[in-house]
């Protein structure tokens, strides 16, 4: 995300995908939800809105599975803004 904010969008998205791949080896739903949230944010910063929506939806799904109300609400409101 730091890379994305510094304009290194490609590196940011690559790192995001790597983080997601690593997180997918776990069943840590809180982490998975957060990782996909940032993957979505990196995509949004690089104007890839459709990719961002997919990532945000995944994030929402993980947070909802865990019953993580505040994080799910945060992602849901972002999704509402961009769709």
């Amino acid at each position: 995300m730091v890379f994305a904010r510094k304009g290194k969008v490609a590196e940011a998205r690559e790192l995001g995908q790597e983080a997601a791949a690593r997180a997918e080896t776990t069943d840590f739903l809180y982490l998975l939800g957060d990782v996909y949230f940032y993957v979505g944010e990196a995509a949004l910063l690089s104007n890839a809105a459709s990719t961002a929506v997919i990532a945000y939806k995944k994030s929402l799904s993980f947070h909802e599975q865990k019953g993580n109300v505040p994080s799910a609400n945060k992602v849901r409101s972002l999704l509402e803004k961009i769709t």
């Binding site: 730091v2 776990t26 069943d27 840590f28 739903l29 599975q65 993580n68 505040p70 994080s71």
Partner: protein, 508 residues
């Protein structure tokens, strides 16, 4: 009087004791409602210190009075007169007690629950002076006799006095060792003391009184020869207790001694259990490859311990497997391993293990795939099982706080987290306290108070660094990077991502 005041140097006890000694010696009598000297006291010898004065006062007592005080002094500031009567070589104990009370050396303390008559030394320095007046050989004899008296007096209730009995046998052993070369009787005395201290240390571990456990188990090992079967068990438990207190390097060194001792004694089960505990400890300070080694040792240990029907050992191994799984964030598998561990710990009646298994089980449930409302329901059961174990109860409550935050109940979550941190602080559990601050940070992150989250997380990082703990540092550093990022402090955030990456590489 001026000379007395000068020697007293402002210590009222000195003046009191000096006057009492003069009364005891007939140099001062009461006449017409006031104290008057019976002769010329200008050349009276005045001891230079309070200790010398008290020793002189005791020297002037009748032998049976002095010996009665000495017997009492072996017990402590409060003592049972019945023991004095049993141990004293003189048979006129009733007179003695009254005489000693009149001389204000002791005062009646009343009756304890036991119904025995007890007395208290008027001042702890009088007790000390009496104790120092006993020859070492007699001290050893009296300590041993008191231990015997206590055990025979209280029979089945002696478990409550076991630590005290252990202490007196230990003192007897130490004085004997100072006086003559070690012989079989003295070795046996040391073993009797160690057995009681070990047993008391085990109870201290079960009630999470880690400082007491370390003290008791450390003393037990010092009394035993390395060849004695209790020695390695005691050292193993001491290693666990030190690890609980965060003394990781010392604990790892002790556990290595247990591994070597178990190899020499061809005790494969103990060797594997100690290796497992040692590897688990080193996971904190030198994490590389430890997780895999823990699983490998566990796989070797499981069939052996199953064959030996060692439920306590099986609980330990399943616990460590679960722990390794949590290191890799496989919380579903960790939960299953912890559930297995709990079954064996309950079967073994191993209260301490049940406690720490519940603690980790709660953490696995918190992070794992089960939804927060279901986890909260499961926590109600865990809290019921944890009742009476403050550490375990606190750990589960800490996880309850996290689940409540996930459910959006922030104020309840904050209060619980604060309560848990207070308990850890009170119990001296520095590592748990540092982790508790990270839990508080997560609650604040969820609530959206990012600067509060930063404060808590920096406190957690500081605590972990001071303890030399590395396992959780990469996660904490990553969490801090996220917090800094959310505040737009991208440069600082990048620094912490690098730290996290570096620490994480070591852990995998």
């Amino acid at each position: 009087m001026d000379r007395i005041l000068e020697s007293a140097e402002g210590n009222p006890l000195f003046v009191e004791e000096m006057l009492r000694m003069m009364v005891d010696g007939g140099l001062l009598v009461k006449a017409g409602g006031r104290w008057v000297p019976t002769g010329d006291i200008s050349s009276l010898s005045i001891p230079s210190t309070i200790h010398a004065l008290l020793a002189a006062r005791l020297d002037h007592l009748a032998p049976e009075e002095r010996e009665a005080l000495q017997c009492g002094s072996v017990v402590g500031q409060v003592f049972w007169w019945d023991f004095v009567a049993t141990a004293s070589p003189h048979d006129n104990q009733v007179v003695n007690a009254q005489a000693l009370v009149r001389k204000e050396l002791i005062r009646p303390e009343g009756k304890l629950v036991s119904g025995e008559v007890t007395f208290r030394f008027s001042h702890i320095l009088i007790r000390d002076a009496a104790y120092l007046g006993i020859a070492k050989a007699a001290r050893a004899e009296l300590h041993e006799r008191f231990a015997f008296w206590l055990e025979s007096k209280w029979g089945k209730r002696s478990e409550a006095y076991e630590e005290i009995v252990g202490y007196h046998l230990e003192q007897a052993y130490r004085y004997r060792r100072e006086l003559r070369p070690l012989n079989d009787a003295t070795v046996m005395l040391g073993v009797r003391a160690a057995e009681r201290l070990y047993s008391s240390g085990g109870r201290a571990l079960n009630r999470s009184d880690t400082p007491a456990a370390i003290d008791l188990l450390g003393r037990a090992t010092e009394l035993l020869s390395p060849n004695h079967p209790l020695y390695l068990r005691s050292l193993f438990d001491l290693g666990s207790a030190l690890s609980d207190r965060g003394e990781l390097a010392r604990a790892a060194a002790l556990l290595e001694d247990v591994v070597q001792g178990a190899i020499a004694a061809r005790n494969r089960a103990l060797e594997l259990k100690a290796s497992l505990e040692r590897e688990s400890l080193l996971l904190h300070t030198d994490p590389e490859g430890r997780g895999q080694r823990i699983i490998a040792i566990s796989n070797d240990a499981l069939p052996l311990l199953e064959e030996q029907e060692d439920d306590s050992g099986l609980a330990l191994v399943w616990f460590r497997i679960g722990w390794a799984k949590t290191m890799w964030c496989r919380y579903g598998e960790a939960t299953e391993a912890m559930d297995q561990a709990l079954v064996h710990a309950e079967r073994a009646g191993d209260v301490r293990q049940q406690g720490r298994i519940l603690l980790r089980l709660a953490a696995s449930l918190d992070a794992g795939p089960i939804p927060a409302p279901d986890v909260l329901r499961r926590f109600a059961d865990l809290l019921e099982r944890a009742k009476g174990d403050r550490v375990c109860e606190s750990a589960v409550l800490g996880e309850v706080a996290q689940m409540k935050a996930l459910c959006g109940r922030f104020e309840e979550a904050r209060q619980l987290c604060l309560q848990v941190g207070g308990t850890y602080h009170e119990l001296g559990m520095q590592m748990a306290e540092a982790q508790n601050r990270a839990d508080a940070a997560r609650i604040e992150m969820l609530s959206g108070d990012i600067s509060a989250a930063e404060r808590q997380l920096r406190a957690s990082l500081g605590g972990l660094t001071a303890l030399g703990e590395k396992t959780h540092l990469s996660t904490r550093a990553a969490e801090l990077a996220e917090i800094l990022y959310l505040q737009g402090r991208y440069g600082e955030a990048e620094d912490f991502t690098r730290i996290s990456e570096e620490m994480g590489r070591e852990t995998m």
